[in-house]
Symmetry: none
Subunit: 134 residues, 4 copies
């Protein structure tokens, strides 16, 4: 199993922090490895306390199903094929902000961002994903 | 980080108790500090036992996201951007009755009220918020 | 089932707060009713955050077994008859500071105090018990 | 309530990482703020997965009782005054490696280190505490 190193995780995290400052938002940022276990985390000053947990769940959700957390949300709405999947795994977060991290074509972990609108969360998470890809 | 003192928390709580008596309802009232940790609590005679937990979760929810618990409920409905956020943080309560407490322009904690209709819960919580602001 | 009223619970709590100030200690104080459910709580400024939970568990433990939490601790030491009882009920606290509250010869609830040495915790809890008895 | 900033938390964390490399050990390092909530975390490559949770609990334990986690362990042995305190607060860790962080004479958070012997854990945590003090 290929997995993210601590330095790669910190690089993703720092890129997310820079993007957050650029957007003027206070975020919680979590990076998990290929095993879904926490590798790096930071909470910006003034960021929501409730997002400590959500950022980590977004990252885990993205790695647990190898898709963006928001993609899982689309297929777990009322009437959808995976309705209520969020009660599994001790609680999933199925709105945007969690994205798998890919290196050399393999998923090596995931990043989760929480603290603003889901659009901002997603934009910050995408910045983190890109730095690893480049 | 500014936080509420015990005497301020008790003042909020007593104001909520007076408002509840005025309305003729039996409430559970919880006050948390800036760190989201319980500072003061009271359960009126005859109040719902199930609301011991709900009052505390409403207060924590309001502080965790720096908004009224009911505001979070509006954006976490099916199809909404934060659908199912309530599975995070060990369980959030996203209907009205939890409000951040503000002092000198800073959020210093939150109050949560549960025991009657959400309208009553909210009216009692608002009374507690006002006493701190005055 | 006779149980404590909110005003009696607040009287116990306030007596404990006064005793704590007299001793110069910062306490968490919890009162539960005859059903073992939280009735009143206060955390003094600067009191240990970890004692929010412990004060409540001491009170519940005292009511769950109708004895002082410390008395349960004496019979649950290694080799004792109730060794490891603390893993039941979601976690009991079996050192001093939790005492049943008695009114007219009936147990109507319990008080739990945590924040200093167990001697101080116990002395403060006893003050609360006495006010109800007088 | 004074609390640690993200940059201070990251400084503590990086100092702990450097000390760990110097000792040749793979650690999990967590920093919580004054409210006991996670502020920064890193897991070194090859560090124990089970220590993700322990590092965080050590930090919380140190802040919850404003003492080193190992000091709490000394008074919670069988026959000790706080025997079995670890069942409270969802699970405390009472062996060395968690230390309060002090700035200008006030506790502003805590650091928790887990991944090697308790002696190594403690030495790494102490390095983090010192950087904030200097």
């Amino acid at each position: 199993m290929s997995t993210i190193t601590m330095h790669q995780a910190q690089s993703v995290l720092n890129t997310c922090l820079n993007k957050s400052e650029e957007l003027g938002v206070a975020m919680n940022i979590a990076v998990v490895d290929a095993g879904g276990n926490l590798k790096a985390f930071a909470r910006m000053d003034g960021a929501w306390l409730g997002s400590i947990d959500i950022a980590q769940r977004k990252a885990r959700t993205a790695r647990f199903f190898n898709m963006e957390s928001g993609a899982l949300g689309e297929i777990s709405q009322p009437g959808g094929p995976l309705f209520n999947i969020e009660v599994s795994n001790g609680g999933l977060i199925t709105f945007p902000g969690g994205i798998p991290l890919v290196l050399d074509g393999q998923i090596v972990g995931a990043v989760g961002v929480s603290g603003s609108t889901v659009q901002d969360d997603l934009e910050v998470a995408r910045a983190g994903v890109e730095i690893l890809r480049s």
